[in-house]
């Protein structure tokens, strides 16, 4: 029953999405108020039915309804309830459902929080988002229905992929999808602007908090994914330049450019067309990301079972959405191409440079990710692009960003003088160079990467602090929330940089053979293996190694990595032991038993300096994005206008 209930809900959601994508849009075109007024209730209905479908699938997981093949493939009787709930998005079909639920949620939020924008504009935004929803609902119903039955159902399910049975994995996909889908709001805004034939600064201001929120979720999602890969895959890396990772990173880069270009368009009215184009690009790249991950056209360390037919559907959908959007852009953009001029030394130029570098970086990642596909398609052989390509390109492209970042906020709009901008930052530059050299020397990290990382990181952080201090002094009311948000995010960039530079240059990493009773030395730590024993969990059993770690003859940690065997799928999984720290992580992963007699195992030991700073920096960026998005300044106009509307209603 529950599956049919979910199925019917999905179909009803599709019907409402079709109505929403057509009638109010026509109403907006003809200026028909009645049709436009339909939009909010359709949005509510659309969301309610998506939520019902989602709840139905969750209930099926909780009740072990293995006659639903998706449940049978991704759950089993031994799985704890919280993983049964997160297993809803553990596979392709369910994650699509989550995607659509979020889209419905964003639409609901747009309908609720934009009442004072011109009705035509909001209606168009909602209709465009509904059209996106139609595509995904069709996709789900036609190619990847989570409610498909297998009769008779198996007595037990196959189990959720053990890699996904992890707290990090519970939150990673929802956050990432919140980000992906959030860009649909900016996309809807761009299309609505093009349809209406104009982009007003107020509308850009309206789009900003949504973009900021989407960007913040995406940042958090990517960081969580990186953290998960770090402790779950057992390789100790934090980023692999893997196609699936790139798929989420490209929208992030475009989104970052979009945030900064929106600032210009809102404050000064310059480059509106570019902002619109970036909004289209950010969402198209999110669709492309979904396609790359789901189609299986690329070999990836993270790739899970997939189906080319689905990939084709998404690819066609993406072609239609992006193609239509770009066509509309080509037809209408010349009309909205206006904006005041600016001097070469101005905030506009600074943000333009930011945009150039971020979009070029995105293009670079896209090229590296798609190149193997192109080569294969042309019949030139099968290749893949190694991580050094991406690493080299990023160092090249991000260096100017890091150097210029602190200057940006200090620069005035329209026109400024170089000396006026540089003067307040002289102290920060001096501090960065001196402190960077001292710290690198003190840590023994005397190599180019670490030194430049420290100097660059401190320069960015000190620049952020210098800006806050100056703003604090010069204005009585203190800083606005969006200014705090920007500063936090920029400070986070500095923290992140230091983390990356230290991990990439100073990681101690070795695979070794070790038998019980032996001690190995790694980067000043002594790791002693005492024994390897058997332990049991809810749905697995494992070999567990008991390590103690000493430094300077003092025991600092007991670490117990495991090699798990999951009962149901028969999958083997490495459970690493981690001892996190602000300045270094200790990391042990078990390889395999080499010799049953002596009990020797192959063991991978890492000592990773400052690795937490990578995610710490990303967390600061996420927080900064959310703080900025919550600034009342983006919502204020609504209130004053609502007030005016109220006063107007009072009969004279």
């Amino acid at each position: 029953m529950i599956a049919e209930f979910g199925q019917v809900s999905l179909i009803l959601a599709l019907v409402l999405a079709i109505l929403l994508g057509t009638l109010p849009l026509y109403g907006a075109h003809r200026g028909n108020e009645t049709l436009m007024r339909l939009a909010p209730s359709l949005v509510i209905g659309h969301f309610v039915f998506l939520a019902a479908a989602y709840v139905a699938l969750s209930a099926a997981f909780l009740n072990h309804d293995f006659t639903i093949s998706y449940v049978a493939l991704n759950s089993n009787l031994l799985l704890p309830w919280y993983y049964r709930l997160s297993a809803v998005w553990g596979g392709h079909e369910g994650s699509l459902l989550l995607w659509m639920l979020m889209l419905g949620g964003w639409m609901l939020a747009v309908a609720a929080f934009s009442r004072t924008l011109p009705r035509e504009f909001v209606t168009r935004v909602l209709a465009v988002m509904a059209i996106v929803s139609i595509g995904f609902l069709l996709f789900t119903l036609l190619t990847s229905n989570p409610f498909d039955r297998i009769l008779p159902g198996p007595t037990d399910g196959r189990d959720l992929n053990p890699l996904l049975q992890d707290p990090g994995m519970i939150f990673h996909p929802p956050l990432l999808y919140m980000g992906y889908v959030g860009f649909a709001v900016a996309f809807g805004f761009a299309i609505a602007g093009l349809l209406g034939g104009k982009v007003e600064r107020d509308w850009v201001r309206w789009a900003r908090p949504w973009t900021l929120a989407a960007w913040a979720f995406l940042t958090g999602g990517i960081a969580l994914g990186s953290w998960w890969a770090y402790y779950e895959l057992g390789w100790g890396g934090w980023w692999f330049w893997d196609p699936v990772e790139n798929a989420s990173f490209i929208p992030w880069l475009i989104g970052t450019a979009l945030l900064h270009s929106q600032a210009v368009t809102e404050k000064r009215g310059s480059f509106p067309a570019w902002t619109v184009l970036l909004s289209i690009a950010a969402f198209s790249m999110s669709l492309l990301g979904t396609f790359l991950v789901r189609s299986g056209v690329l070999t990836s360390v993270h790739a899970f079972a997939n189906d080319p037919e689905r990939g084709l559907f998404i690819l066609m959908f993406m072609a239609v959405v992006t193609g239509a959007a770009l066509l509309l852009y080509a037809l209408r953009a010349p009309r909205i191409m206006t904006g005041p001029g600016f001097d070469w030394m101005s905030r506009e130029t600074m943000l333009l440079i930011n945009n150039v570098f971020f979009t070029v970086s995105a293009a670079m990642v896209l090229l590296g990710t798609l190149y193997p596909l192109i080569v294969d398609f042309m019949g030139w052989g099968q290749i893949s692009v190694g991580p050094p390509y991406f690493g080299a390109m990023f160092i090249l492209l991000m260096t100017p960003i890091v150097i210029l970042l602190p200057l940006g906020p200090f620069t005035r709009w329209k026109q400024d003088e170089v000396m006026r901008v540089i003067r307040p930052l002289a102290a920060s530059a001096a501090v960065a160079i001196v402190l960077g050299l001292i710290i690198s020397a003190a840590l023994g990290a005397w190599n180019l990467r670490a030194i430049t990382g420290w100097i660059g990181g401190i320069w960015v952080m000190a620049g952020a602090i210098a800006w806050v201090t100056r703003q604090w002094r010069s204005s009585r009311s203190g800083l606005a929330l969006h200014q705090w948000g920007m500063t936090l995010a920029h400070f986070g960039v500095g923290v992140f940089l230091i983390g990356v530079a230290m991990v990439e240059s100073m990681t101690f990493e070795r695979d070794m053979r070790i038998a019980p009773g032996q001690t190995v030395e790694a980067a000043g730590y002594q790791f002693t293996l005492h024994e390897v024993t058997q332990v049991k969990g809810a749905n697995w059993r494992a070999d567990e190694a008991r390590f103690t770690v000493h430094r300077n003859d003092r025991e600092i940690a007991a670490m117990n990595p495991q090699k798990r065997l999951y009962h149901r799928g028969g999958q083997v999984m490495t459970q690493v032991a981690l001892r996190p720290g602000v300045t270094r992580d200790l990391y042990i992963a078990m390889g395999e038993e080499l010799d049953a007699e002596s009990g020797a195992w192959s063991i991978r030991i890492h000592v990773k300096p400052f690795v937490r700073w990578i995610w710490g920096g990303a967390a600061l960026m996420t927080l900064g994005g959310l703080v900025s998005a919550s600034d009342r300044r983006y919502w204020r106009r609504r209130r004053t206008e609502a007030k005016q509307a109220r006063t107007a209603e009072v009969p004279a």
């Binding site: 899970f304 001097d343 070029v360 670079m364 590296g368 692009v385 991580p387 390109m393 695979d511 080499l594």
Partner: protein, 150 residues
């Protein structure tokens, strides 16, 4: 030309110049970091791109995995059904490395005809098979049915 337009033109020119330079650098970097995928049959036919890191893919041949008792050195055969290549590796093999399963190794062919791998990747999922390996098996005339779980 007005001064504003001149400025804008300079700006646009600089951007175009920068982007073209970046493209050149990117293409060069791309050429340097390309990894070619080869099958044991390619190795046998000696159609390898010389002096290059390559990705070798196929199935781990049954009964070929042998370990050195005192170190992490391990050797195994990779097969596409038609031909075999011996691979040597020093390190920890992935969790899902098993005889008869798909595998991809990164490394070089040495003079003695042994593939020296510095990285070995296996699948990450019970049902997943690297697409290149799947195709390589088909081309060698030994397609493998991806087993659907029940």
């Amino acid at each position: 030309m007005t001064p504003t337009r001149k400025k804008r033109l300079t700006l646009v020119g600089l951007i175009v110049l920068g982007v073209s330079a970046a493209t050149v650098v990117a293409i060069t970097a791309l050429q340097d970091n390309m990894l070619f995928f080869v099958t044991p049959s390619d190795v046998h036919a000696q159609t390898l791109p010389p002096d290059r890191q390559i990705r070798l893919g196929g199935l781990v041949a049954d009964g070929t995995v042998s370990r050195d008792p005192d170190s992490l050195a391990v050797t195994f055969g990779v097969t596409d059904g038609a031909h075999d290549v011996k691979v040597s590796f020093n390190g920890i093999l992935p969790d899902l490395f098993r005889e008869g399963q798909g595998v991809i190794a990164h490394g070089f062919m040495d003079e003695s005809g042994v593939f020296r791998a510095h990285e070995v990747l296996a699948r990450h999922d019970e049902t997943y098979m690297p697409p290149e390996v799947m195709r390589a098996l088909e081309e060698a005339g030994h397609p493998m049915e991806a087993s659907m779980p029940r």
